[in-house]
Amino acid sequence: MYSTFFGLQIASRALSTQQAALDVTGHNIANANNKGYTRQLPNIQAANPLTFNAAGKPITIGAGSTMDSIIRARDSYVDRQFRWETSKYEYWAGKEQTLNMVEGLLNEPSDYSLSSDLNNFLNSWSELAKNPQNVGARAVLKERALTLVDTLHHIDNQITDMQNDLDANVSVTVSQINTIANQIKELNTQIKRSEAAMDNPNDLKDQRDALVDQLSKLVPVRVVETQDPGFTDRTVGNFKVIIGNESDVDNVLVDDQVVRQLQNPAPTVNGFSRVVWKALDAGDPDPDPNDPDNWVDLGNQMGELQANIEIRDQYLVNFRSQFDTFAEGMATAVNTIHQTGQGLEAEGITGIEFFTLIDDTQPFTAANITVNPLIRENLNRIATGTIPLDTTTDPPTHIQDDDGNDLLEVGDASVALDIASLSQGWEKLQAYLDPGDPMPLDAGSLGDFYGSVISQMGVDIQQAKRMAEGQSVLVNHMNNQRESVSGVSLDEEMANLVRFQKSYSAAARLVTMMDSMLDSLLGMGTTR
């Protein structure tokens, strides 16, 4: 026979089980709007039944319920998809953001842009050609040339600034990754301890998942969860986080309670921060950041970090070189013609360059170009006409005028006109070049070359924009999937609340009933 108070025990278990279930529901409701929270489910099971012998055979009687565990409603497959799409989204969104800044910097098409500066510059040659001896027209030309050069300098500076900003981002990201890695390691320790004690550390796991989500914005990330072989009778997980290219065996950021850090502060090579692992064992020397093979393989078009590095190292470098090419082509074209001429002051056999280098040891670039200081000091040296040469002598000599001075032909504007014609193409320039010489730029004209740079930039931005838009739809979709599994539905929780409350009331009623039953039993022994 079993205990008289068995029924009370069932009632008491029921009370505490339903109360725990109500608490879980309360916890869910309290965290309904908490990002990264996973809804928890009370896993109520029937308690171990009681078996006794009656009438010569065993009879098993139910012993009520117990709260076996509280589980998280989580789908690790959806998590993986979500993080994968997030990495892709952040890559394109990061790219789009920087490219938008590049677009804003160039300010095309507007009246305050390189293209209009170039048009103004070439047109002022045409204007000067009408009045070669007009100092006003010369001053306007000089100012427009300076504006054009300033714009090129400005673009070059801005590209450098952007690269520096991106570089600062890269080194901040590296230390962020290290911090997250350490936090994940700490959580791994706590979770393991808790799991080893057969507890369910749901909220700690939520925190860890949130950290991995955060990591997936910076770099592609993959989580591998396995059973800890040290435990065979209970579920204890090993949590491994791989970043970057997952096929690279070196790219394990956290393996259970071992964390591998990136070199922080990020080592700089050629002025730019690099992402390099630290040595795995504390005693070993760190991998050499100067060897590109040691740079962490960040995978293919994933994560904000990679977007920043790619734009800093490739896109902007390439972009700058196009402006360098443009500056060099423009300087070559204008100088080739300008050198054959003279202005209001006689030149020697050859004239002077219009654009000169700031640093003589370097070639023409967007940063290394300026208006010849001789011209800035003396506007009369802006060449407008050809130098009248007597070619019968060897070497040719400057033709003299009646007063014995070098002859000036102020009304000859052929040089100015030929420079102005650069807006149309190379037709006039060809006369100044040797046959077979290449044109200064691989395009129909200066403006065409610049136009193709702008078009290419537009295509790149559009691609980044479209990819980011597409990815954001996917991220949103995955987020909905995840929310569908893990999110708290208030309706559901309210329904549960009622359900568990009713159960609780019924269990309480059971206690009352048992009480009156025991009353009856105990009343049997009293004398009236």
Partner: protein
Amino acid sequence: MRVTNNMLTQNLLKNLASANNRMDLIQNRLATGQEITKPSDDPVKIGTVLRFKSSLASMEQWKANAGEASAYMDTTEGILNNMTSMLQRVRELTVQGANGSNSDSDLVQIAKEVDQLTEQFQVLANSQVGPKYIFSGTQINKPPIPPNTPTVLTQWDGNDKAYEFEVGPNVSISVSVEGTRLFGITDNGDGTQSSSFFNTLHKLSSSLNNADQDQINEALQEIDDQIDNVLGLRAELGAKSNRMQTVSDQMDNSILSMKKSLSDIQDADMAETIMEFQSVQNVYRAALSVGSQIIQPSLVDFIR
């Protein structure tokens, strides 16, 4: 699929944000009147926009050049007109002098008037448009006839090169009348120049002073030649002036059609954009109104 309250809120916010984005884009188009305000709006068209803008800037410049060239030629034409009437007067005087009924003192008087006109011709030869001497070829900063030159010209400080204006893609038109042709300048090869025009006038003046009838008759013939020369140059100038006018008109048309093409590519279709704005606005309003109804109630509101 299980739908939670958070999903409803998040999706609503996302829809509102995307409607807002659309409205911002359309708002920009409406405010600027342009469909392409940045290269990424249409990378293909932006190349065309830049090329058209550059062509437009050049055309505006050529048009301004053509206008100035016309003004320059008008002034030149005025001077040639003056010269023609002055030459007519010289001819009248010559005819008068060739008439045998003049006394010697009459002829001297006529010679004096011819000398006066000669001096005036020298002034006209140094005519300027602004600071430019129009008959000195490309040496526009120097008066072709140096000061204190006697009526017989010995020095001409100009050349026979054309003074050109750019009025089209690699098209330059000479706007000047060459002083060397107008005044029949020849280089004597010894650093001096002589002018058939002024030689004729000098010959006329001296033959009048000397009452040499044969010489006067000869001079009359030469003056007719000079008048023909000036008229010929005037005709040439008129033709160039006409051409410049044509160029200017053409440029006007080209600018107009270029602007139209640019507008076709770059400008927003207002009616369409406004319609689009209306429709996006409707979507936005609908999202807001549905949102306000969806988010608020949950089971919480019904359990007491």
